[in-house]
């Protein structure tokens, strides 16, 4: 399987920004920590750097190989393929979750009468087209669209200055460290740990020497954006409303003086779109790798359809989705994000250096 098309370091960084920003800004997973959510997010961010370092280390130990190949090398052909299959399931499931998040968000906030199916299918069409166009198109589209996210975040942060109440951030650690850790754990698995998916994209990078720089800068920017938004929301809404609101980031943009919250929503569309695109790409790429197919582009459309179907089938309602993502998801994602990568790293290290 030859892939000529490549992405640049800048494009990879932008993809990481979009991916991490993605749906996690709509549903703030750290909100359980009330006014300390920013601190939880900070911890998760630092954890995210550790995890990304882990993934980069895995890639650097077996360069030019994507996750599936590395798994095969690490765990043997059959076990590796099986774990790879699980990973592919995880990727497509992740895509379906983000689809659902975005759909529910849009349906709650603006398009109350429109059926969820229609909304999700509308999102899926450009994404299917994008994945079908290949990794180069993905990277370049990210390049020309994602930069909107930091700009619009900056605009909202500046425009909301009159609404800030710095006292909302106090008292620090009111309920002790437990809620903070819980928020940090939630936030680590969503979205920072999800960057494990980039093990499928690293081989497409054309400037190998920029890998560490690009990925860490991407994560840095995304983390700064997320923490800025969390701080902004806490200061604008107060810790209590921040915790109770389903979409806190949206609620605070409705207070913008110019009422441009609808335009800000497109920003979230971009982030989620980047995330889903990366997920679908990783799925089709993984499938093509697993079964040694000629081209991954062929699989794009059915995979998108499958993800859309899964997103609709998986949950009955928004509350079910919220409960599942906060209670079950962190544990469900744990093996994919931490356990298997750590095992893989140990095995690879053993194979490279001890033998």
């Amino acid at each position: 399987m030859i892939e000529e098309a490549k992405i640049s370091g800048y494009q990879l960084g932008m993809l990481i920004v979009g991916f991490v920003f993605g749906s996690s800004v709509i549903l703030n997973p750290a909100a359980v920590a009330y006014q300390d959510a920013w601190f939880a997010q900070l911890l998760a961010w630092l954890g995210g750097f550790v995890l990304l370092g882990l993934y980069v280390a895995i890639y650097l130990l077996s360069p030019e190989q994507n996750l599936i190949e590395t798994l095969r090398e690490g765990f043997g052909k059959y076990l590796g393929s099986l774990i790879g299959l699980f990973y592919i399931w995880y990727f497509i499931h992740l895509a379906s979750l983000v689809f659902r998040d975005l759909g529910e968000y849009m349906m709650t906030v603006t398009y109350t009468e429109t059926p969820l199916v229609f909304l999700i299918i509308s999102f899926s069409l450009p994404i299917a087209y994008l994945v079908k166009s290949g990794i180069e198109a993905i990277g370049r589209t990210a390049e020309i669209t994602i930069f909107v996210i930091p700009i619009s975040v900056l605009i909202t942060v500046v425009l909301l200055i009159p609404n800030y109440d710095f006292n909302s951030l106090q008292p620090f650690l009111e309920e002790g460290l437990t809620p903070v850790l819980e928020g940090a754990f939630n936030n680590l698995s969503f979205p920072f740990g999800e960057t494990v998916i980039f093990l499928m994209l690293f081989p497409a990078l054309n400037e190998k020497d920029k890998l560490i720089k690009a990925s860490s800068l991407g994560l840095f920017v995304a983390g700064v954006l997320l923490i800025t938004i969390t701080l902004r929301d806490i200061m604008v809404l107060g810790s209590n409303i921040f915790r109770r609101a389903i979409f806190p980031a949206h609620l605070s943009t409705t207070l913008l003086p110019a009422e441009i919250d609808q335009l800000i929503a497109i920003n979230w569309l971009l982030g989620s779109g980047a995330k889903i695109t990366v997920c679908i790409y990783a799925t089709v790429k993984g499938l093509a790798e697993l079964f040694k197919l000629n081209s991954y582009k062929l699989l794009a459309l059915p995979t998108v359809v499958l993800a859309v179907g899964l997103s609709l089938w998986s949950f009955d309602d928004l509350i079910g989705l919220l409960r599942w993502s906060s209670e079950i998801y962190p544990y469900y994602a744990l093996p994919f994000q931490i356990v298997i990568p750590v095992l893989l790293l140990i095995i690879l290290l053993f194979k490279r250096y001890l033998r």
Binding site: E113, L237, N240, I241, L255
Partner: protein, 402 residues
């Protein structure tokens, strides 16, 4: 050939789209803009929702000289707010569009009973504008307030919000928008204060005029006065703050932007001097001494000499100092009054000392959070006011006939 077919297809598709309106697609002339919404308790114990709608066509006709009112008020009773808002559709032929609500008025009866149920709807509704201004109708109902016509503006709600802005500038009214109220209610150690509107009748009497609406004439906005404030304990109305008390409260909060305060002329005690207070600030503080809370408010303000009645040249440094001293005393007195009111009469921590305590002494706060209002009403409050008078404005000394 193919190109033509593609174009044909696009045309057919677009006609399809245009004829079958999509789910959320609603034309702007199918919605009614709600500019003000009011909540009352009806006699049957239900919630009576009053909305003020704008009729854009009449608005344009009015500009061309029509006498037709450009707004329309309608009330509906239901057990829930949402039910009432939806129930109005049996009278209004358009969907009520709540995104441009300027003002939320709460009737006194409902306020006394508690506004929490109303607030839930306002917070939950995705269309509700969260920075609409709040008002309590003192001695009357929200319905009456919203029905009043304005002579200056075509839409009374806009008139109301504008004069609220003015009153807030002049330190007569506590302006509060929905999101701030929600934040305060969610904060554990804080009670809220909302501005009030009163109907005073044509002759400007200072008491509620019930007879104002029994005549044929419609109530006018100039018969109302927007000043003072209502103190809430949790979500229940517990009492009123008069305009001077409101000013004291605003001083204590450091929210006075442009207050006019009249004090005695030091040279001529019968006459008055008007001071314009600008750039005032306040810093409430809490301390723990032997496990007992001690509260204090430090207020500072600068003022300009605005007007002088009576004899004497006040534009000297010593007189300015004298004036400042009197000003400080007056402000302190005003603050003291409202503090006493809050501590003794209402037992409501409208200053947010509890919130401060929570931030600064979380351990203590954990012990008293259940009965903080009790603690608050017994805690000593120290008030310290520092003022300076800066400018005499345009003249060095007052004019005197020779």
């Amino acid at each position: 050939m193919l190109k033509k077919k593609i174009i044909l297809g696009i045309i057919i598709l677009s006609i399809l789209f245009s004829t079958t309106a999509c789910w959320d697609n609603e034309n702007v002339d199918d919605i009614a803009f709600v500019t003000g919404i009011g909540f009352d308790k009806s006699e049957e114990g239900m919630i009576e929702v009053t909305v003020q709608l704008v009729v854009p066509t009449f608005l344009q006709q009015r500009e061309q000289g029509s006498d037709e009112e450009a707004f329309w008020t309608i009330s509906f009773e239901e057990e829930t707010v949402f039910g009432a808002v939806k129930g109005m559709l049996s009278t209004v032929n358009r969907r009520l569009f709540r995104n441009h609500i300027h003002i939320i008025v709460i009737g006194e009866d409902l306020a006394r009973e508690g506004i929490i149920d109303v607030l839930d709807f306002l917070e939950r509704d995705h269309e509700m504008k969260k920075n609409a201004e709040m008002l309590v109708a003192r001695g009357s109902t929200a319905q009456k307030v919203l029905q009043a016509q304005s002579n200056l503006e075509d839409i009374p709600s806009i008139h109301l919000t504008d004069i609220m802005e003015n009153a807030n500038q002049l330190a007569k009214l506590k302006q509060k928008d929905l999101i701030t109220l929600l934040r305060e209610i969610n904060q554990q150690g804080q009670s809220s204060v909302i501005g009030t509107v009163q109907i005073v009748g044509q002759d400007g009497k200072d008491e509620p005029a019930e007879e104002a609406d029994n005549g044929e004439e419609a109530l006018l906005l100039k018969d109302m006065i927007v000043e003072g404030a209502a103190a809430f304990k949790e979500t229940q109305l517990v009492g009123w703050l008069s305009p001077p008390e409101t000013r004291g409260y605003l001083f204590a909060q450091g929210e006075v932007i442009d207050g006019i305060i009249n004090i005695d002329n030091p040279h001529d005690r019968e006459q008055r001097v008007s001071i314009e207070v600008r750039s005032a600030g306040a810093e409430p503080e809490v301390e723990l001494k032997d496990g007992e809370p001690r509260l204090s408010i430090e207020v500072w303000a600068t003022g300009n000499l605005g007007e002088q009645q009576g004899a004497g040249n006040l534009t000297t440094q010593s007189d300015f100092a004298e004036l400042a001293k009197e000003l400080s005393a007056l402000i302190e007195e005003e603050i003291r009054e409202v503090v006493d009111l809050a501590q003794q009469d209402y037992e409501a921590d409208i200053f947010g000392f509890g919130e401060l305590m929570r931030r600064e002494h979380p351990d203590y706060w954990q012990q008293v959070r259940g009965d903080w209002e009790q603690e608050f009403s017994q805690a000593p409050v120290e008030i310290e006011v520092q003022t300076t008078i800066r400018k005499p404005r345009m003249i060095r000394m007052p004019t005197r006939p020779k």
